[in-house]
Amino acid sequence: MSFKIGLAQCDATLGNVASNLASHLDTVARARKEGVDLLVFPELSLTGYVLQDLVHEVSLRPDAPELARLAEAAGPMSVCVGGIEESSEHAQYIATFYIEDGVVAHVHRKVYLASYGVFDEARFVGSGNRVGAIDTKWGRLGLSICEDAWHPSLVSLLLLDGAELVVVQTASPVRDLHQGELPYNAVTWLDTLRTYARLYGCYIAFANRVGTEDGLVFWGNSVLLGPEGEMVAEGALYDEALVVGEFDRGRVRQARLTNPVLRDEKLDLTARELRRIAAGRRHGES
């Protein structure tokens, strides 16, 4: 089985859902023309990133009309869109809305909020507490948002749960531009993603923002990586782009035959040792 993945490397208007929805609809139309089957927008694509107290004004319930508009426009194409989800308890979360066949079929709440350096997410939103792969018409896939993917444990859980494709939505700004064309955090990102893809024999769909908010310049360079770490498709630094590449299930099989890391995982051992380590930490041991 194979299908086309599109990465919508886009800018956003901070705090203006209506304006962002309009540009999402344009991108959805363009992606459908290009035959994309699964379209991935960056983190908080519908709202912009540096929201602070604006989270309360831009939050959406999964049944919000804005998402219904997108779902309708997407038709048979599936879409991962980024936004602020408001729960039935009126808590806000950074979320991926996974739209398929006219409805929001899944919501992933960002588990690992970035609250260090230039980031201050935990001040304004709650963190998710569920991780798991989901069944879609494109197979089993894992959803993650930015900092989520800096925790190998979370990515491992998605893959152990059967994902063959991991979606990573990000809003990553330039940090520590130094030697070379890529900022240091971009180098770390790309090395990390390539390592995941190679170790687990999976595809990684990484969609990153471009544009500038409050002096933060988002670097784009979205990538679709194949199961041997190969670059299937790549967006330019800093410019908007619709990056399209092919997912080929045969290649996942091929990579996993060569490198059976997942087959050999000792889940019971891992679970047992994790329980021991967690108990130690609870008792204040390092």
Binding site: T13, L14, G15, N16, S19, G48, V50, L51, Q52, D53, L54, R123, F124, V174, D176, L177, H178, Q179, G180, E181, L182, P183, G211, T212, E213, D214, G215, V217, L237, Y238
Partner: protein, 285 residues
């Protein structure tokens, strides 16, 4: 200048390792977006004849076109004549007019009544006078005011609060002085400006390095390790920085924090600006 302000060459090499082309790319994109987001197509800045304002003018010309960069030279009567000449050189090289606003009359009118004022008071007054001119030009030309402070002087507090520090955007506020020099060279700022001794030009013969007591190379090497790499005093001394130099720079950075912040608001209400009324600067989208 204290020649004993030793610093490890490796630290300066790290500062200088910046990829200038990549830096220009990021700064130009950020600058364009931040200015246009608030509905401006033009910018205005004071062009002193020095390196920092030349660099900001070159960056702005790259983003908006020189015709949309309003460059204002604002000499005082005792300013070095080279300063005006170099400011005009920047404008000429970029192909746009230099607006000249001499500030002698209004500064002198004020100090006629305060004849005993120190050099610092006079310098501060001049910096704030220049600020008011730029903000007046901002309205007249519908142009956003760009600041020209670099990271070294922002950290050391080597500026006049609400004077040269007042602006809407600081395009080179995250570049150390020695990095600003490399980026200026990369963009083709004339050698005569890149190579001259940095000076606030508030009085004759003043140079930054003389006044600070250390060179920009020394300051940048230390600030880079202290700020960017979060190294503590003991580590810095172990690395080869003089303990007294470290203490002096740390003191300056700490004592000038107020210049880098908005004024303090005393909290009374349920929601207070800058404390728990938190919106991005780019709220307007």
């Amino acid at each position: 200048m204290n020649a004993s302000n030793r610093y490890p060459e490796a630290s300066l090499a790290q500062v200088q390792a910046l990829d200038t082309r990549a830096a220009v790319d990021v700064l130009c994109r950020g600058l364009g977006r931040e200015v246009r987001r608030v509905g401006f197509e033009k910018v205005v800045l004071g062009v002193s004849g020095g390196l920092d304002s030349a660099l900001v003018a070159y960056l702005a010309a790259k983003v908006f076109g020189a015709e949309n960069v309003i460059m204002v030279c604002m000499p005082y009567t005792t300013s070095n004549p080279d300063s005006l000449a170099h400011g005009q050189l920047v404008a000429r090289e970029l192909g746009a007019p230099a607006h000249v606003e001499a500030i002698g009359p209004q500064i002198d009118a004020y100090f006629e009544r305060h004849g005993d004022a120190s050099e610092m008071r006079r310098g501060n007054k001049m910096a704030r006078e220049r600020m008011t001119i730029l903000y007046d030009y901002s309205v007249e030309h519908r142009a956003l005011v760009l600041g020209t402070s670099n990271k070294t002087e922002l950290l050391l507090g080597y500026s006049t609060v609400f004077g040269d520090s007042a602006c809407a955007i600081m395009p080179i506020g995250d570049l150390y002085k020695t990095q600003a020099r490399s980026v200026s060279r990369f963009l083709g700022v004339p050698d005569v400006i890149v190579e001259k001794a940095p000076s606030a030009d508030l009085w004759e013969g003043q140079t930054d390095e003389e006044e600070l007591g250390y060179t920009y190379a020394q300051a940048d090497a230390l600030l880079y390790e202290m700020v960017d790499r979060r190294k503590g005093r003991a580590t810095l001394v172990d690395m080869g920085f003089d303990a007294e130099f470290v203490d002096e720079v740390q003191r300056r950075v700490r004592n000038n924090q107020f210049k880098r912040k908005m004024p303090v608001i005393l909290k009374l209400s349920a929601r207070t600006i800058d404390k728990d009324f938190l919106y991005p600067r780019d709220w307007t989208g």
